[in-house]
Amino acid sequence: MVVKVSNLVKRYGDLIALDHLSFSIKEGEIFGLLGPNGSGKTTAINCILALLKYDKGEIEVFGEPMTPESYHIKQDIGIVMQNVAVYNELTVYENIDYFCGLYIKDKALKKKYVEEAIEFVDLGEYRNFRPKKLSGGLLRRLNIACGIAHKPKLIILDEPTVAVDPQSRNRILEGIKELNSNGATVIYTSHYMEEVEQICSRIMIIDKGKAIATGTKEELKAMISLGEKITVESYDVSEQQLARLRELPNIVSVEYNEPLIVIKSSKGKNNLENVLEFIKKENIQFGKIYSELPTLNDVFLEITGKELRD
């Protein structure tokens, strides 16, 4: 195991930030920590990094207990903080060089790694820019470069795409997959379920400091009763028709917010086909119709009773 967290408890006064949190991360995984803001993701990361003292529990990194003095363990960890942590007085190159130099003593090797990091985040043309002259997306890329330049075995990214434009976000996500394919184990925290779904091999959903579900995205979706969500756009549907629709096999719920009829069905075959036949039979006029498989938001909603972005 690269990381093993057992029964971790962290309190801030009366507030329990982490409530007996346990999980483990295998080598080569991209492990996603998914949860709404304030769910305890960053607190968990800070405990793993020994930046925070915790009240109870054990944390092991690379098979050894993690303490503030575990400098040999820190040597192999790369961290990309939620807030951009770079020096405004230094240029892009100097910032990456500084953070890489905290880990790599060999000058030639350091220079090579810094160049590779600049190329990796595609900041070559901004190498002599100061951070204040960079856009939000470029700053995030610089933040990532500073965290991964020394080629760590374990990379922790704490919400690296907050306030980043879609183009930069995709670039960052692709980069994380590339780092992982190069052998790094990744811990990725986010409250964007699409991102976690897109890149993580295993996901832990966390809420109010508790782990509410852990597994691959398929395993998580299998945990809930929802099998399919069919949406029909129609301006011409009566209450009686909606009642008859609810009686179809596997249908869990039908909601109509003009003009959208949202039909949720449990796992089963021919759900979409049954709905289409019903619409044809009832002669309901419709604009478009589409089917979606459950998302992690649906998983979160079914388990906690609230939306992930609440």
Binding site: N46, L49, L51, P68, Y71, H72, K74, Q75, I77, I79, M81, N83, V84, A85, V86, Y87, E89, L90, E94, Y98, F99, G101, L102, Y103, C146
Partner: protein, 387 residues
């Protein structure tokens, strides 16, 4: 030494701002040094001057001739008619400052040891006239002394003895330092360091501390394999390097502006004082950097603290011109003690312990300020860390 290098880089980025203070320092120092040297030159270029006097004698004897010759060393003789009105006019219009009139029969009475009278008129309150009067008295008193001790002596011999005795002169060497009475001008370049050096130190130190007090950056460095003690040691070394370079630069300028006094003991005490003040300025920067966040805020606080203390402590205006209440308030700042110690060090003519004690005690107060600033910064940092 990544942290050490980083500190130096942060300081390097702030050099343009620091140069403004150096420029102000140089400009003001040049102006003050030029005006000060002009004032000092008038005091140091001592030359003998002679007073204009009138010497009117009713007789011509060797003794009177001897007196005339003696007075000739200190006076220019102006011929005046032996008329009261003309003499009064000459005094009034300052053609002469002193008129000596020797009545007929003076020499005979004098040689006989009888009571004699001279007629003297002078410009009221004239120092030159007083010196001439002293010279006349000295000549005649010495002559009387010879007469009383040697008994029967001719006028020629008496004049010769008097000439031998009175022509002897003691060697007087004018020392430049004590001759300088304008202490403000003398130590200005050192006193003004309180503004330029403090500003530079506070800016540099505050920039370093602001960077390292940033919570995200601090956490980021804590995640690295660099030990906290090693990082703190590197910050300390960088601060030391920066303070040392800043001090040496300022001292070089001080030497440049006061090249005549570089090798004096006064300079040694001025240097010691400025070195201690550099440590204090560094500690002040450490404190401001621990309290204030943001470069703009740091600049503003630096200006208020440094400029304010310089105004009330006698850096820009001599302390003698400041009010008692102002100076009492100023005594709660290290700048006041720095300026005070500088002024005292510049006036030292003796360097035994009792003489330098006052300078050293003021310097010790600056050390106390430095310790207080440093301790306060540590407390603030500790409180913040635990919060």
């Amino acid at each position: 030494m990544q942290v050490y290098k980083l500190c130096l880089k942060i300081i390097k980025k702030n050099i343009p701002v620091m140069l403004i203070y150096i420029f102000i320092y140089l400009s003001v120092s040049i102006v003050v040094t030029l005006s000060s040297s002009r004032q000092n030159n008038t005091g140091n270029d001592f030359t003998d001057t002679k007073a204009n006097i009138a010497f009117i004698s009713g007789e011509e004897t060797p003794l009177i001739e001897g007196l005339r010759k003696e007075l000739g060393r200190q006076a220019n003789f102006i011929n005046l008619p032996d008329k009261k009105e003309a003499q009064q006019d000459a005094l009034f219009f300052r053609e002469v400052v002193y008129i000596l009139r020797i009545p007929e029969g003076f020499t005979q009475k004098f040689m006989a040891g009888e009571e004699v009278h001279l007629e003297k008129n002078s410009v009221p309150d004239s120092a030159k006239a007083a010196y001439i009067d002293l010279a006349v008295d000295q000549y005649l008193n010495t002559a009387r002394f010879f007469l009383s001790t040697m008994g029967d002596v001719t006028q020629e011999s008496l004049v010769k003895y008097l000439d031998d005795v009175l022509s002897q002169e003691a060697d007087v060497k004018l020392m430049p330092a004590p001759a300088k009475t304008d202490v403000y001008g003398l130590v200005f370049s050192y006193n003004y360091m309180a503004y330029s050096l403090s500003s530079i130190l506070v800016l540099g130190m505050a920039a370093i501390m602001a960077a390292f007090n940033n919570r995200d950056l601090r956490n980021r460095v804590s995640c690295s394999p660099v030990r906290e003690t090693a990082a703190n040691l590197q910050i300390f070394l960088a601060s030391l390097t920066f303070a040392g370079v800043a001090w040496l630069t300022q001292i070089a300028f001080c030497f440049f502006f006061d090249i005549e006094n570089v090798l004096t003991m006064n300079t040694v005490y001025l240097l010691l004082n400025s070195l201690v003040f550099t440590v204090c300025g560094t500690a002040m920067g450490f404190l401001i950097g621990s309290v204030v966040k943001g470069n703009e805020a740091i600049s503003a606080v630096t200006n208020v603290v440094v400029l304010g203390s310089c105004f009330i402590c006698g850096v820009f205006v001599p302390a003698q011109l400041l009010g008692e209440t102002t100076l009492r308030i100023a005594s709660f700042t290290p700048t006041y003690w720095f300026v005070k110690a500088n002024n005292q060090a510049a006036q030292l003519t003796q360097f035994d312990l009792s003489s330098v004690r006052l300078v050293l005690s003021d310097t010790a107060v600056i050390v106390c300020f430095a310790l207080a600033f440093f301790a306060l910064s540590l407390v603030i940092r500790k409180v913040r860390r635990f919060s």
